[in-house]
């Protein structure tokens, strides 16, 4: 199947307007929240912003790592879906910009901006912590841009002749020194392999650092060597779920018609299935060590999320329902169900992996699960279960929570659409 690449792709009006509205809504909620006179509302707004940022930043960066991993393993299975994965990375520069809001809210979020943490006095200071995180994110943005540039450039051959206006100028700039399609493709493949390795390595380091500085530092005495890797892996897995979901939603679009075949759906299903198991494995190996060791400085983090009973698991003797009613426990279990239990049991057979409606439902469930999981990583550190019992609101589905989520969804998909709009060849089956 061939597509006329030179024809500029129009920005799809309805989705663009919808996501634009969502983005505006998110902006209004965020600005309203942070300028509120109620101190709790301000804290809550920043908190929600942080956990959404942690989800979407890691997701878009994780998508590029997924793209890099497919390149490095010579994965031919992705075909045109590979382009879609690249397009998810369009949000990366924006995630850097949005990080400024976290910096702005640092006094509302991080206790260590008020009191130094024993033993880590110089590690957690405003300038050093945010300095290194900004540096890491700027580096990630740079690497991602180079990667996307190399990936997109060979597909711009037709568009550089016809595109006009600022898009034309941009495409001209991105295709400067054009060597002809075949030569470009070969050169890009070679350079992309190198960049893919750099990207994956940078992700492991940078997002481990983000995991430490943005999540672990909320409970600064808690320590777990697994946690940074666990957080980064979550970004990668959520990117896989997003890829599966979007390729199913867009399977009748101009670029993907006839491409999301049964075997490709099977592959996507296998990816969601296998990597959710691996996510569960990482969670479990962290949990088991902490449960077994039972050291207060380690158990606190888990107990705040899973309730006291999961550390001694006498719940089956001393009242399951009262234990499960402890703060945050049900929310945590919901995330666990959506991220592992459902993907594992539903996608165990071959048929469900190939059935769009089932795979799509599982993938969206997993994304919702990750949103809740990010919520649960952040919130109990800032609003402890004791405070919840004393009346602090913890619903993940309140107005501020959903409003800011809407804003992130809007911005994320605007980036995604804009990428496909500026680069007309970005989505078609170039790699097939």
């Amino acid at each position: 199947m061939s597509i006329d690449l030179s024809k500029p792709r129009g920005l799809p009006a309805v989705p663009a307007a919808l996501f634009g509205l969502l983005a505006m809504l998110g902006l209004v909620v965020f600005l309203g929240g942070v300028s509120s006179s109620d101190a709790d509302t301000v804290k809550r707004t920043y908190r929600v912003f942080l956990h959404n940022w942690l989800l979407f930043a890691a997701l878009s960066q994780g998508a590029l790592v997924l793209s890099a991993a497919i390149r490095l393993t010579n994965g031919k299975w992705a075909g045109p879906v590979h382009r879609l994965i690249d397009a998810l990375g369009a949000f990366v520069p924006l995630s850097l910009v949005l990080f400024i809001a976290i910096w702005a809210g640092r006094h509302e979020l991080f206790g260590w901006t008020h009191h130094a943490v024993y033993g880590k006095e110089w590690w957690y200071t405003e300038s050093f912590t945010f300095g290194r995180d900004f540096f890491a994110l700027i580096w990630m943005t740079f690497v991602s841009q180079v990667y996307l540039y190399l990936s997109v450039r060979p597909s711009l051959g037709a568009a550089r002749e016809t595109a006009t206006g600022w898009k034309g100028a941009l495409i001209q700039r991105w295709t400067a020194g054009w060597r002809g399609e075949a030569a470009e493709r070969e050169l890009a493949e070679r350079r992309l392999r190198k960049m893919a390795a750099v990207l994956a390595l940078s992700y492991a380091i940078s997002y481990s650092l983000i995991g430490v500085d943005m999540i672990m530092s909320l409970s600064p005495h808690w320590v777990s060597t697994m946690f940074p890797a666990y957080y980064s892996w979550g970004g990668f897995l959520s990117a896989i779920s997003m890829t599966a979901l979007l390729s199913l939603i867009l399977r009748n679009s101009r670029e993907l018609t006839g491409e999301v075949t049964e075997s490709r759906r099977h592959d996507l299903g296998k990816m969601v299935f296998a990597f959710s198991i691996f996510w569960m494995y990482l969670f479990w190996s962290q949990y088991l060590v902490i449960w077994y060791g039972n050291i207060p400085e380690e158990t606190g983090f888990i107990a705040a999320r899973l309730g006291t009973q999961f550390l001694q698991d006498t719940w089956y003797m001393t009242g399951f329902w009262t234990r499960i009613a402890e703060p945050y426990v049900q929310i945590t279990l919901t995330a666990w169900f959506l991220c592992w239990v459902i993907p594992f049991w539903v996608l165990l057979g071959q048929k469900p992996k190939k059935t769009p409606i089932i795979l799509g439902a599982v993938a969206s469930g997993s994304l919702i699960g990750f949103w809740i999981e990010r919520y649960i990583l952040v919130t109990p550190s800032l609003v402890s279960p004791e405070q919840v019992l004393a009346g602090a609101p913890v619903t993940p589905f309140g107005g501020i929570e959903l409003g800011i989520l809407a804003g992130f969804i809007g911005l994320f998909f605007l980036c995604f659409l804009a990428f496909g709009w500026v680069f007309p060849g970005a989505l078609p089956p170039q790699d097939a």
Partner: protein, 167 residues
Amino acid sequence: MASVLGVLKSPAETVGVIHSLRGAGFDDLEVFSPIPSHEIEHAFNPAPSGVRLWTLIGGLTGVTLGYLMTIWMSYDWELVIAGKPFASIPAYTVIAFELTILFGGALTVGALLVYGLLLPKQKSRGYRPSFSVGDFGCVVECQADQIPRVQELLESAGCSEVRVVEG
């Protein structure tokens, strides 16, 4: 009854032979191949292998047994260890997991032996050593008066050699 053997060189040719024979009403076929081939498998359009079920049965047996054994033994002689409850589900999950794999794997292999090696009628008539090297064989069971018809079908489908092995 008679058996006619046709020798072929590739999975694709073998699939062609299977289709033409089955199309002509000869359903009692035996195909030998040196490699596993999805195309040949699909040509017969079989029900899913029974091995599937036994893996599941084994896995479920293992996980049940793992939890039951550890929990029962812990309560049989109650002893507090490391301040943990007698039935420590997280710890016993490790044992239950290993037994899931053990029983699942053992029954898988057991089912393979029964279904694949012991149960099938040993129709090695017409088998020759080259079938574990590079040749594909197709043995057709037919009435004696059908032999010429089968030979003709096999030859027209590209068999490099056709011979009556019995009858």
